[in-house]
């Protein structure tokens, strides 16, 4: 996936290394290889994060935080427009 990169420096992913218990779930679950294990989890490719939230959802110690969501323009547009406006989803 390294050939596909969206805008850099925007992902809301944060990792609290002190809280990490080193279970190794997050590198398994991240579909983009954003995290690896080095005793504890390490964020090695923050700009590869698509904020799907799988890591934070499954982190047993709450060490990972991300504002999860779907990166979909028509969905975001719908949240900006009044409710009566027609749209998808």
């Amino acid at each position: 996936m390294r050939e596909f990169r969206h805008l850099p420096g925007v992902a809301t992913l944060t990792l609290d290394r002190d809280a990490c218990v080193g279970c190794g779930l997050c590198p398994t679950l991240c579909p983009h290889g954003v995290l690896v294990m080095d005793g504890k989890a390490v964020v090695v490719d923050r700009d590869g994060c698509m904020e799907c939230g799988a890591c934070a959802m499954n982190c047993p110690s709450g060490a990972l935080m991300v504002t999860p969501g779907v990166g979909c323009a028509s969905y975001i547009l719908k949240t900006w427009l009044p409710r009566w406006f027609p749209g998808c989803c």
């Binding site: 579909p31 904020e51 028509s74």
Partner: protein, 342 residues
Amino acid sequence: MCGFVEGFLDTPVGPVPRVRMRVNAADRLGDALARLGSLRREYTVVPGLYCVGSPRPDSPVLATANYKLTFDALRSRLEGVDAWLLVLDTRGINVWCAAGKALFSTAETVRMVRLSRLDEVVSHRRLVLPQLCATGVDGLAVRRECGFQVVWGPVRADDVAAFLADGMQASEPMRRVTFTLGERAVLTPVELYLAGRPLAVALALAVVLSGIGPEVWSPSMAWERGVRAVWALLAGVAAGAVAVPLALPWLPGRSLALKGIWAGAAVACLAPFAGARGLDLAGMALMTVAVASYMAMNFTGSTPYTSPSGVEKEMRRFLPVQISTALAGMIVWVGSAFWRLP
């Protein structure tokens, strides 16, 4: 009986439907219509417990979504596998999107494990979940609430058989999403389908605008110029919804909206719109570029790599560009009808 059920297997909780591993012509037609868009809202499988092959109490349990496209993708790749299939009620939405909408969730997984009385059917307490549902499912909570340990399966149904054969181990590539040319190409028909209704409104508006001229509004001009305006808009849709997805890695820029501008400009240059010249051509090209950029931006919802933060940033930057380009295009287009008079 559904076409994909080939019989029933007796279990302590009653007969469990055994599904075919081969998809037939009817399945293929349905899957194609779902890909095209017309069938995708109600293309579902009844949630519950199914099986493939001849599973025993110690056979693995694979959970999946009840979108039939997803169900077909899974069962058609289980040649030689004996397994239980636990189909969750995800309202006919695929695994990843359902997890993002909290439909493929911890609660739904636990509910379906209980409803199907899975603990009476199998002797073990392991449940294989597709990796991408982790966005909505807390594996540890599933174990706490229903006693089944979650084993994270691979991203793609293609890899499930190899995953099971390897003692439920997924290799690194099985854990990563990809976005190959083929994976991008199958997503383009539904983009066109979803563009249908707003596009029809835009085309009608374009024809009305095309009739405006020195004679206030002339039907003959609406026809003559309207055809060209329609072409300009269709070219924009083709550039944004087809060319951008296909040429995604090769178009410059990171924002999809920017990639759409390049694709729209290329199409506007390559297709000189049936002999349009001067201001006519400029107005049409601007409309093409605006539509292409907007359509390309909408493709963010189909990609597996754009984050909501990134898409919002891209939209704040490019929506004003798209709107002003479209307005400029319309003004130049209408203006050109007056300009060409002697």
